[in-house]
Point group: C2
Chain length 240, copies 2
Amino acid sequence: MSSTPSSATPTPAFQRIKDYVQGEIEAGTWGEGDAIPPELRLAAQFGVSRMTVNRALNELEAEQVLVRRKGAGTFVAPQRYQATVVEIRSIAEEIRARGHRHRSALFRLERQRATRMLATQFGVAERSMLFHSVILHYENDAPIQVEDRWVNPALAPGYMEIDFGAVTPNEHLMRVAPLQRAEYQIEAQLPTAEVAEMLAIGEAEPALVLRRRTFSRDAVASLVVLWHPGKRYRFGGALG
Amino acid sequence: MSSTPSSATPTPAFQRIKDYVQGEIEAGTWGEGDAIPPELRLAAQFGVSRMTVNRALNELEAEQVLVRRKGAGTFVAPQRYQATVVEIRSIAEEIRARGHRHRSALFRLERQRATRMLATQFGVAERSMLFHSVILHYENDAPIQVEDRWVNPALAPGYMEIDFGAVTPNEHLMRVAPLQRAEYQIEAQLPTAEVAEMLAIGEAEPALVLRRRTFSRDAVASLVVLWHPGKRYRFGGALG
DNA sequence: TAGTGGTCTAGACCACAGC
DNA sequence: CTGTGGTCTAGACCACTAT
């Protein structure tokens, strides 16, 4: 990965040092929690200045390979947090990436007063006005996702005037209410009668449900429930 | 976050520059794709050397806030990839984090020859030997996860001798076969009769299923299917 | 007190982009 | 060609840790 014989830029010194350190860790020479040689020693070993070593080790710390403690030393980081990270892209983007055709149908678009549960979720007063939309997304004419969304009018006042055929709610919200934070839950549920009909599945067929609450400017911008047919849809991702 | 009046170390210059750049971006002064001032200009503006500015901007590039092009300039990075990232922790860790009690029961531990499908998944010859374990995890005595796992003996030869009461398969595998890469899928399915019985749910109740394939030393180390009762379990996470 | 990392400088030479 | 970022140096002073 770092040896093109001619014409290419030679591997930078800081990169060679990073490779060396990672190699020793992978080979097991330096185990979890062990101290690695101090900057000055590595600088002498590689014939570079301390700043160059400093950069290499700082980058490895940012990559969670090392832990550095001022005055104490540099140590091999503890085992990586064993988390499974699943990426879920916007449905339209995902479908187009598969080379398929995406279209959507707007089933409902209305102003509604917040129930107690919605008010709690949004952090607004009960009976506050909220926007509500229900959209069915198709992949090559097969229904693939029901998007049941509630929107905070304070953050997206123009929501009711979007051309939902051209812009997905997600795209509009990303533009008017920059994403600050989000919370997600994934569940397996039986669909409601209405959802089952929209997705053209049986009421006894499991649905894969994603609930997401997005925050913007320190307020809840949107609450969305995405329903997918369990038989035809899955979330997937890769890590590493 | 960076103003403790006395005794504390003053905010480093590179950090002040990072804050300034992020502030201008958040304020909208510099929009997506715009060029920001070159290093020398910022160095003069802040009265620091170019190396200090260089560090600040390099870190912002690593954080995907900026994009830098040699010879061309430094630009505000395009809108963040709109992905939903869901973290799924090891079940034992997750249960303990909730302050609940975790225990597990080993239902099956055997050597099995790879079926064609397993052989394909593992990238080994059909009828190669694989380890197979089935473990039921409990949260406060309620069954919460069925862990159906296949393991590559080449990468974890000691798998059959683990004390599964003390070490989870995950912990063992992390130790002997350092995680290189992983692939995941999340599905909503009806459980098999056996799984339904283990989880003490009805066969018509949806299950939330996570399939994961982990790689180590350029080979498939393990293939696991995790079944959860849809009613009592969900994956969740936060982003931002 | 000695050793370590945190930060910074004032230069330098290079490769590359755009005119 | 000029301006940009990429990399590097040989020092420096500081704060912190460990002994």
